[in-house]
Symmetry: C2
Subunit: 264 residues, 2 copies
């Protein structure tokens, strides 16, 4: 299957305090690499829930699972424990992770942000990884990301703070993804001067039939609004093929729509 899943961890999201924008960011960043996210889940800050989320995404064929949130020092940061439980692994203090956390708190101490650079228990917690995992460096926060590869599944755990998540993704995760990247992806968003989505349905079906492999998604707008937006995309073996197929489908959609216009 080789699919990708995202497990969002956090009561702050399920209790409506925070809008999850990390998933969309990861999805769009992966899309640029021609990688697609199959499904996402959001679970509460509880070890069994996190473990169950990981197991479900894996059993749905996700070989790469991103987790977001729950890496910090407080009582409700449980993502790494949940990941360890999903694979039946113990947590152990990781020397590389310890070096990252120590460096970050020494730096914060130097800037006068924290009183002491000492590795207290809450700070040590962030250096405890599942056996066999490795830390992903974080130079903009205290908690390292974590990469665990086990039983054919890669789990990449990222912090919930968007700045930190993005830094780790760009600097530490991209090299991990290189091996998965293949083929090419093209897309175009088309605005059509139709107001009624139900008139468009057969036209979309025709375009998808006449350009095999193309995907056309209508992006609904409030009822009665002017115009309909369609998202046309294609994944292919080469960039030129993908672009050609999108171009062909867009041409078809435009010409068939014009034929249907009341005053066309």
């Amino acid at each position: 299957m080789n699919e990708i899943g995202i497990l969002v961890v956090g009561n702050e999201i399920l209790d409506g305090l925070v809008l999850d924008t990390n998933s969309q960011w990861i999805i769009n960043r992966l899309k640029a690499l021609n990688l697609r996210v199959w499904e996402t889940m959001t679970v509460r800050d509880e070890i069994p829930e996190i473990a169950r989320g990981i197991s479900r995404l894996a059993s749905d064929g996700c070989e790469l699972i991103f987790t977001t949130g729950g890496l910090g020092p407080t009582h409700d940061d449980m993502t790494i424990q949940g990941v360890a439980e999903a694979f039946g692994l113990r947590l152990e203090l990781d020397e590389d992770a310890l070096a990252i956390v120590s460096r970050q708190y020494a730096e914060l101490h130097g800037r006068g942000v924290v009183e002491s650079p000492e590795m207290t228990e809450p700070r040590l917690k962030m250096a405890r990884l599942p056996e066999g995992a490795r830390p992903l460096d974080n130079r903009v926060g205290g908690a390292p990301g974590v990469l665990l590869e086990r039983g054919g599944v890669q789990v990449v755990s990222l912090p919930g703070v968007p700045l930190e998540l993005k830094w780790i993704f760009e600097n530490e995760v991209l090299p991990v993804l290189r091996g998965r990247v293949e083929g090419a992806f093209a897309e175009e968003v088309v605005h059509l001067p139709l107001r009624d989505e139900s008139t468009l349905a057969p036209i979309i079906d025709e375009a998808m039939e006449e350009v095999p492999g193309v995907y056309v998604k209508s992006m609904v707008k409030p009822y009665g609004a002017t115009g309909i937006r369609l998202w046309v995309s294609f994944r292919g073996s080469s960039q030129s093929e993908a672009e050609e197929m999108v171009r062909r489908a867009v041409g078809l959609l435009r010409s068939r729509t014009e034929e249907k216009l009341p005053n066309g």
Copy 2:
């Protein structure tokens, strides 16, 4: 268990084109009624995926499941088929749903938005519900919502267009929820003048121990930012109890934090 789940349906979300804000809206609307969402999933526009999502949320103890998206007339609107498949039900043309869809297209036709008020196949599709389901009126769009009660589970299917989703929720879903509402909920967001979340961890643990039942969540900010926000909440049998417990926990958090301040 009596939990609530949300199943978001839509490739446009998993392909990064649209940010899902409906889930947070539903969560906050339910929170005001002292109802909590246990977990959410986002799946692709495929009937087996939708059916599997429903089954999973139900098997996790969700007795009320909201679905969002996939109710429209186009080929990729498959939510109702997925819901029917999850319960092994057939779809059948529903007279009440047909009346809603017909009324809406007659109205659009009257405003000159659609060429014909005729019930074409794509429009009829929106009036086919799982056996035993009932439509939820929609006066701001073409697709009715759907309420299905089966095997102790209620499934409420809402359109993905936020305007339509909100209209159906406020006008048609609230009466359905009345029976579930009990107890009271209080919350407060507190800003503390600490910059280091790891210093705060033991203080949060103390507050949660000394005020049993209170929930304290630290809302992380970028590393080194000034101040930390905590969300303190309590679900209780009466509003005055819930407010008192939140007040007590907030007082504890403030006084313990002051003791820890370097220049305190």
